[in-house]
Amino acid sequence: MGIEASTAAPTLRPRIRRDPERGLIAGVCSGTAQRAGIDPIIVRLAFVAATIAIGIGPIVYGLAWLFIPTADGGTIAGRLRGGRGSVEVAAGAGLLVLSALLLFRALGWWYSDAVTWPTVTAGVGGALIWRQWMSVPAGVAPADPGDRDDPGRGALPFLEGRMLGTVGLGVALVLGAALVFLWANGALNAAGDAVLAVVVVVVALGLILAPLWWRLGRSLAAERAERIRSQERAEVAAHLHDSVLQTLALVQRRADEPREVAGLARRQERELRAWLLDRPPARAGQSLAGALDTVAAEVESAHGGTVEVVTVGDCPLDPGAEAVLGAAREAIVNAAKFAGENGPIDVFADVSPQRIEIFVRDRGPGFDPGAVPADRRGVRESIVGRMERHGGRASVSSAGGSGTEVELTLARSES
């Protein structure tokens, strides 16, 4: 016997189920009695006694109706549930608010039953309406012709089923609260209080219609954003047509001229980069960064090779900046002439309020700066001399086989 008891599977007692078929109201007492194996009348009497004694019978019954499943396993709360646990959270929060209100009422911190309860009810109704309206995505519009044939969806095809029911409940709560308020304040009987009646109805309608107005605003904002996106797409398409597509057509026509094609591609790349970085090419004549880009393009066209320009910061082309630009141009030209075939020429410009620094680096064979003949004026005058005349400094570093780097530095006057 003892062995049997320890090895037998535990007996699963059936879960409590509501039994609406045999119940007087919602089948809570009937289901509970069935689960307990007693006569339903005993449970009903217990509920009545609990109601008379401490008044919690209806609350317990209501909660049981919400959370006890029927025979098919579904609960009222489960049917109302949006997300997991949301109904419990909403009910719990609501009950806590209700208990606070009841406590205030008991303590005498109370304005009036005729005002507070209709206000709370209208607030709950308004919250239900808002919640449902806000859960409809802003992009959903009642304009899908396919849905118009569905008679179940009516004039608001984006509201359906349970959602429509919840909105209906919210509307009923708001209107009911308004009517109770009017009745409790005697406004329904006294013609002299017509103004109050109108105000309350307007407030109630406002609560109902405010989400609609809110949605309308959101839809307009979404439409505006879509229009802006369309304009931007059109602008991008126009730019690509005027620049990239034209260049590609030229490249096809000059396919047998590799140098020309490379130059076209480089120019297009530079222009596209400037556009992507929102750096208009018109700045070429006005700023150091733009002018450096122009110089690089000119050198590429004239001498071939690739000149990669990276600039950090920018400044206007004042006499000092023009001197640095001239020296940089000379350094880039030298690099293109003597090292253009050895890889790209890197130009890095760092412009700060205190100074301008430009580095020009190539990957050529290099040379000995001290061995340059006196009659060659390129490095000595166009680079070093020019920088010194404007209070700056130029240094040339080169070693056999490891390329050449020209560093140009000019202090800027604080302005």
Binding site: I54, G55, I56, I59, L63, G83, R84, G85, S86, V87, E88, V89, A90, A91, G92, A93, G94, L95, L96, L98, S99, A100, L101, L102, L103, R105, A106
Partner: protein
């Protein structure tokens, strides 16, 4: 100690029901006079706190 994780909903439910029981006990001994006007919010708050704990616990598990 069977290694099961703490069920916060059960903990909250136990605490608030114990608190309600304490209040009812004080009422029974005559230490406080608990009228319906005060009992109703106490019961409502108890149920509300339990529901809130259950709901938050479920949404956390989801």
């Amino acid at each position: 100690m069977n290694g099961r994780s703490l069920d916060s909903a059960s903990l909250v439910a136990g605490l608030v029901i114990a608190a309600l029981g304490g209040v009812l006990l004080l009422d029974g001994t005559g230490a406080v006079d608990l009228r319906f006007a005060y009992l109703a919010p106490a019961v409502t708050a108890t149920v509300g706190a339990i529901l809130l704990a259950i709901g938050l616990s479920r949404s956390r598990r989801a």
